[in-house]
Amino acid sequence: MSVTVIISDGPLGPLASDTHQHGAGAVLCFEGVVREVEGQGRIAALDYQTYEPMAQRMLSAIAQDLIARHRLIAVHVEHSRGRVPVAQRSFRLVIAAPHRKEALLATDEFIDRLKRDVPIWKHAIWREGFEPPEPTAAA
């Protein structure tokens, strides 16, 4: 039962070659990639702002909770801070589990909770000439 959480500057590098997790029958790796087209605009990059150490702690807490509830073997999380250009990776979640179903469920739940509870914000850097209209204020 191991958890690693890494928040680092800029795009994520390739996944470091993993060591075998004893008992794992399924290893699921999810990677989030910065897409060029967002809504009606075209972006050059995303800027990620993180509130640390809360972001790190929340990511660890979610991982620990999922390990306990889905009987996972290991959870490894990486998230970028700062600028990540289009086509680069900003998020990676690797889950080792005895079987496929737990790994798939835990991946989906982890990302739902990341998007709801972890203090990380993204801000689009638009490509010149491709800015969308100013959003209206929430009311």
Partner: protein, 81 residues
């Protein structure tokens, strides 16, 4: 008591700053801090209502009292991933 509140995301960009200070009275609960934030900075009041306060890097219940030295942050809509 003066409470220093960290801002991020839409709240920070709406006000053009990464933190604000507010004065609160006898009730130093997180509920009171949010009410005072919304009054003092009406431009972010809609965000404050749906947002949560974190105290010392943990989400805090509305009844949690803020004490001198606590780090208080307004966590609005997050967008990681």
């Amino acid at each position: 008591m003066t409470v220093h509140v960290l801002l991020f995301g839409a709240e920070a960009s709406t006000l053009g700053r990464s933190s604000v200070e507010i004065d609160i009275g006898a009730d130093a609960s997180c509920r009171a801090v949010k009410e005072r934030l919304a009054q003092a900075f009406p431009a972010i009041a809609p965000f404050v209502r749906v947002g949560r306060l974190a105290v010392n890097s943990e989400f805090a219940s509305p009844d949690r009292q803020v004490r001198p030295g606590d780090e208080v942050a307004l966590i609005g809509m997050v967008s990681g991933g």
